[in-house]
Amino acid sequence: MKLHSGRDDPVNSLATSTHGASALQRRPLAGYAFWSRLRSEARRWVRAAPTYLVLVVFLLLAVTPFLIVALTALKSSSEIAQGVFRLPETWRWGNFVQAWTQARFAYYFRSSLVVVVAVVSASTLLSLLSGYAFGRMRFPLSGPLFLLFLLGIMAPQEAFIIPLYHNLKRLGLVDTYWALILPQVGMSVCFGTFWMRGAFADLPRDLADAAKVDGCNSWNALWRVMLPVVRPAVLTLVVLLFVWTWNDFLLALVLVSSEELRTLPLGLAFFQGRYATNVPLVSAGATMVALPTIVIYFLFQRQFIRGITGGALAGT
């Protein structure tokens, strides 16, 4: 497929018009070769132009709303009426400070961080163990047990949120970090088990044999021999779990009520409900909630796309 997947620097590969010229600098060509090369390049670009036009339009559609909000976050309340793309007279970074302190986003951020770190590390560890058993061991009832985990991937949160609230209340866990962490781990291990089982099952048989020859028991074989090999799958899982947990809304909405425990999406939702008129401040909050996702997404884009497409496809 002609996708140029080997190019690691998409921005450079976008620098279309200079492509022919830079090739020329590297390897000077005779005049005729230069012109014919230029002409064929030009023809190719003219033919590809409509495609790029459509792509750019859709790219702008996807990105512009976020850019508008990031820009709005730097304006004063009076400036927002004066044109969406007009730059602010003074860049009000203070809006972010205000959102962080006055609007309590510092609390929300801490809360999100605690929940995400706990959920992702616990879920990854538990999924690694159970995925290992399903992927590499033979035992009675492995089929039905695995189907049980698959049910957990399919089940919507709405199917269990009501009794979950009352059960946790009876245990005295409502409105604690535990209420945000434990159910999220319970959901995450379903996908995690499924995902890691696939990774372990795909390992070459020689690897397990080598571990056996070395006299490893199953525990050592997992940590010393197989873990290094399935590390890419683990990384993908971590990235996916991070984003799912970071973005989760319904659990937090139902299971915590104190302001200090609100996660970022929940805090943002309440904040915008109360201060809908202070558009720059709400925008600053939204930008702060979005930023970690964007950073993680661009750092781990490949894992992301592999996880989303692989996970979705395998789930059928």
């Binding site: 998409p10 590969s13 976020f66 992927g135 949120i161 979950l164």
Partner: protein, 307 residues
């Protein structure tokens, strides 16, 4: 073929001669316990709750099928379910058609920076729906929102609306956001799928004199069958259980114009304390979701076995 379709036992498992199968259970136990305690058990409880009348505080009273019978006469629920099905157009139909169109444009030709574009188009999908909701509330803002400002700048001031507060336009306005979020996901899925199609099929089609459209129709589309059904299932589920976006943008309003099943469930369970009744809604919603997923997947399986 998907991983799951292979039976677990189809793999040759490696295990030591003196292998003790209970070791496997020890590996599974921690995950299973936490899943069973916080997801599975509450799912069963939901079914149990749905047969009781309960306000969440006092003693529950067994009510038989009363909650389910109540669903039949619940006008708000009917509006909510109708809206869920309207959202399917925005969450499922439009994104898949749009993504197929873009897939036809993008694949089968040399495009520099495809991964860059793909990354950008996928951003809305990875973003928290609360952020998306806040962003679009501002875009739709009646007074100074970018959309109305744009219309005024284009001399179309008469078209400016309080989008999310408008009785007829609120649902499409929220729906468009759904389309905006979902098509990137479908596109990523389809582009990855095209890369898996055997190049020889295209060569054969070309030899038969198929033009680009025919190649798309007869090679790409059938080749994307499993990706399309995955996109169908996941977007249908998103449409049927839409909550965050509606909660942040309209809270079901104006009136009940954008009320959806999950939001009505939430109101009943946690605001007006009809817990048993809310559980009945949850059961019905879950059954609908499971049936729809099952229907799509079984159609796909039949199509695969025929070919």
């Amino acid at each position: 073929m998907s991983r799951l379709a292979r039976a677990p036992h189809a793999h040759r498992k490696s295990y030591e001669p003196g292998y003790r199968p209970w070791v496997a259970y020890l590996y599974i136990l921690p995950a299973l316990l936490i899943y069973a305690g916080f997801v599975l058990w509450p799912i069963l409880d939901t079914v149990r709750y749905s047969f009781y009348e309960w306000d969440g505080f006092s003693q529950p009273v067994f009510a038989g099928l009363a909650n389910y019978l109540g669903l039949l006469g619940d006008q708000v629920l009917h509006i909510a379910l109708r809206n869920n099905f309207l959202f399917i157009a925005f969450y499922t139909a439009f994104p898949i058609l749009l993504a197929l169109f873009l897939t036809a444009m993008l694949t089968r030709r040399e495009i520099r920076g495809l991964s860059f574009f793909r990354a950008g188009l996928f951003i809305p999908y990875v973003m928290s729906m609360v952020v998306v909701g806040v962003v679009w509330r501002w875009i739709y803002n009646p007074a100074f929102g970018p959309l109305n400002q744009l219309l005024k700048a284009l001399g179309l001031a008469a078209w400016a609306r309080p989008w999310l507060g408008d009785f007829t336009l609120a649902l499409p306005a929220v729906g468009v956001v759904g389309t905006w979020v979902q098509y990137g996901f479908c596109l990523v899925l389809f582009v990855a799928g095209v890369q898996r199609i055997d190049e020889a099929l295209y060569d054969a089609a070309k030899i038969d004199g198929a033009d680009e459209f025919q190649q798309f129709r007869h090679v790409t589309l059938p080749g994307l069958r499993s990706e399309i059904s995955v996109a169908l299932v996941t977007t249908l589920i998103s449409a049927l259980r839409i909550f965050d976006l509606v909660f942040v943008t309209t809270r079901g309003g104006p009136g009940n114009q954008t009320m959806v099943a999950s939001l009505w469930l939430y109101r009943n369970a946690f605001q007006i304390n009809r817990v048993g009744y809310a559980a009945a809604i949850a059961v019905v919603l879950t059954v609908i979701i499971m049936l729809v997923s099952y229907a799509v997947l079984s159609i796909r399986l039949r199509a695969t076995s025929e070919s």
